[in-house]
């Protein structure tokens, strides 16, 4: 059923908008029927809200050193008035970090960085991967061969190690870390797009477009790439999760975000030797990373099931 839908979709511009709306509606409905996906959407929604309103929620600036402003010490444990912390002490619900800053505010501002990291690296990887994959799948021959063999070489390295190597070449820093993770994740998207291109390249609606005088660009972007959208969305959502994890790992090693940026991985890395004396400074940033990654994983799994035509009978 989906297949005929696709053909109709491609032939008729008007039908395209009508059909795609209903397809997305079905997807949404199926997505919301899965409890785990709903949990993911809710967590993600809260995180996005926190990131957008960080200036309003955070009691302090992320780089506000409190020495001389408040009677607090470096790496002080959390002090929450409702849980019995004396009223005469300033409240810091996530404690104080190694540079005498409010950890809670830093955690809040960190959500911006993590979400930005996830979306930007994956967008970068999808754009480059899609172009390479489409080029490989559509041209075939030596172009296909050389592109995909190069992708194989990239895949032969464990992704984190390759990312470390690339960052070392580019120099440490948040932007370079993003670039490295983006480059490392290109092969996955290139493969997805190439597979979709190969599967629809010989279909009638593609030949029809060509017969009607459509040029290569038109065929690729208007006819073939839309068919790769579904797997790309799923792969991309799950890819955001692993991109956030990898970026946090690079920052943990000191290769990603540099101080004073409140990146969760680097916050954790800076205090890792204090895990026995100030465990909150290690636990909380890692917990936020896990929560963010979890929300994208749940959403990605939900999308995969919701977009799977084999499970169409469920809806």
């Amino acid at each position: 059923m989906i297949n005929t839908e696709k053909k109709v979709k491609a032939l008729d511009a008007e039908a395209l908008s009508l059909n795609s709306v209903s397809l997305w509606q079905i997807t949404w409905r199926r997505l919301f029927r899965r409890r785990s996906a709903v949990v993911g959407i809710v967590i993600l929604g809260i995180l996005v809200l926190i990131a957008l309103t960080a200036d309003l929620i955070a009691p302090y600036d992320y780089d506000d050193v409190l020495i001389g402003k408040e009677p607090v010490k470096a790496r002080q444990a959390p002090c929450i008035h409702m849980l019995g912390c004396p009223q005469d002490q300033p409240q810091h619900i996530a404690g104080i970090d190694g540079n005498v800053r409010d950890e809670f505010s830093r955690l809040i501002y960190g959500s911006r960085l993590s979400l930005m990291v996830g979306f930007s690296t994956v967008s970068f990887a999808i754009v480059i991967g899609a172009v390479l994959g489409a080029l490989a799948g559509y041209s075939g021959g030596w172009v296909d061969n050389s592109i995909m063999r190069f992708m194989d070489v990239l895949l032969a390295f464990p992704s984190l190690l390759l990312a470390i190597a690339i960052v070392t070449v580019l120099g440490p820093g948040l932007i370079n870390a993003l670039l490295a993770i983006g480059i490392v994740s290109i092969p996955a998207y290139a493969r997805v797009v190439r597979a979709s291109v190969l599967s629809v390249r010989e279909m009638e609606f593609v030949s029809a477009t060509r017969a009607l005088g459509g040029d290569t660009m038109q065929v690729l972007f208007r006819r073939i790439l839309p068919n790769a959208l579904t797997p790309l969305i799923v792969q991309g959502t799950l890819g955001i999760a692993s991109a956030i994890l990898d970026a946090a790992a690079l920052s943990f090693l000191g290769l990603g975000a540099q101080p004073p940026l409140p990146e969760w991985g680097s916050m954790l890395g800076a205090e890792r030797n204090q895990v026995f004396t100030a465990p909150h400074l290690v636990f909380l940033p890692g917990f936020m990373i896990a929560l963010t990654v979890l929300s994208f994983n749940l959403l990605g799994d939900g999308l995969r099931d919701a977009l799977d035509p084999r499970l169409a009978h469920i809806s």
Binding site: R149, P158, I164, A165, G269, R272, P279, F287, A290, V293
Partner: protein, 359 residues
């Protein structure tokens, strides 16, 4: 079969070639001067000139590439600039740590992950299933370094004076005798060569060496030290394996031949183990093969946290110190290891499913 193997090996040659070139390029384009990075304050212009000449860094770049290729093909990885010793020796020293760690992590992930996945598929929608899936989702989302530090906090600090205490770092405690098996057995050890390398490699695999030499004290100590790193590194693959085992089993359990098997009156155990699980193994093995790369990457982080001098940590330190020799050799070894593992995964398909013929 042999033909397939040969063809697969041949087809991985371009990839291996690509790996060599990429590692060579990466090592060369790392900014910064190796002389200054390694000698630090002592690096005067004069000393640096000699240093560059001694290490062949003043030759044209393509010449360096050819020399490098030739050396690698002869199994000679050159000299580590930083440690001033042959990279091969360093590799033999460091590789056992990583091999032990990855195997332990893989073991953890399989021993825990497969039964969890199978049980939650058999008891679909029961509380076991729900708990397993929640755990699996959490497991794939946790950063390795965070999990490692938290495990160290709980088992090394909170449980300090209990029998559950576990050491937070190192491979063995100080003062534990760890004589290598070739000394205990009074073997004739050659002065150099492949056999010596092999002996030393095995001798440094603490657990295997302890079993070979019946050194139970060392065995216990090595295992105790390995538990936390293995748990930290094994959790993500464990979660992936559990999820895959569950979905593969659910797929298989819905097939007609399972109903037939049940209708024949076979016991549940036999149906699950012989008829269902064997068929679910195929996708499972694929996923295990894929997660091995993550395992090797995660080893860098795990080794850093638990103070283990393994391949991952050494490579990370070498990259930051611009030690070309180590960067090239270790990356190549890891990548080749990875290619070989994937080949093994492909080969195992035909063993698991005789319908698949490798041709």
């Amino acid at each position: 079969m042999v033909q397939y193997l040969l063809r697969r090996l041949l087809s991985s040659i371009p990839v291996l070639f690509g790996i060599l070139i990429v590692t060579f390029i990466i090592a060369r384009v790392i900014p910064g001067d190796p002389c200054r990075a390694i000698l630090g304050e002592k690096a005067t212009a004069e000393i640096c000139e000699r240093f560059v000449h001694e290490h062949g860094l003043d030759r044209p770049i393509h010449e360096q590439l050819f020399i490098y290729m030739g050396e690698i093909l002869r199994g000679d990885f050159g000299e580590s600039i930083r440690y001033s010793m042959p990279v091969t020796r360093l590799l033999i020293e460091r590789l056992p740590t990583t091999v032990e760690l990855s195997f332990a992590a893989l073991l953890v992930s399989l021993i825990v992950g497969i039964p969890l996945g199978v049980i939650s598929a058999v008891r679909h929608n029961s509380w076991i299933d729900v708990v397993t899936m929640v755990w699996a989702n959490l497991g794939v989302s946790m950063p390795v370094f965070w999990l490692g530090l938290m495990l160290a906090y709980v088992f090394s600090l909170l449980l300090k004076d209990t029998p559950f205490w576990l050491p937070p770092s190192g491979r063995v405690s100080a003062g534990i005798p760890a004589a290598p098996f070739y000394d205990v057995w009074n073997l004739n050890v050659p002065e150099s060569g492949l056999l010596l390398a092999f002996y030393q490699f095995v001798g440094r695999l603490n657990i295997l060496n302890a079993i070979l030499t019946s050194n139970w004290e060392l065995l216990k100590d090595a295992i105790v030290h390995l538990i936390l790193p293995a748990l930290a590194l094994g959790t993500i693959p464990m979660a992936i394996v559990a999820r895959m085992a569950r979905s593969a089993m659910l797929d298989v359990l819905g097939q007609d031949y399972i109903r037939t098997a049940r209708a024949k009156g076979l016991r549940q155990r036999v149906v699950i183990m012989k008829h269902a699980f064997r068929n679910a193994l195929l996708p499972l093995v694929t996923v295990i093969g894929l997660s091995l790369g993550g395992l090797l990457g995660g080893a860098v982080l795990t080794e850093t946290i638990f103070g283990l001098s393994g391949v991952g940590r050494t490579l990370y330190e070498a990259i930051t110190a611009r030690d070309y020799g180590i960067v090239q050799a270790f990356t190549v070894v890891i990548a080749v290891f990875f290619v070989v593992l994937n080949l093994l995964v492909d080969l195992s398909y035909s063993y698991l499913d005789p319908r698949i013929r490798l041709e």
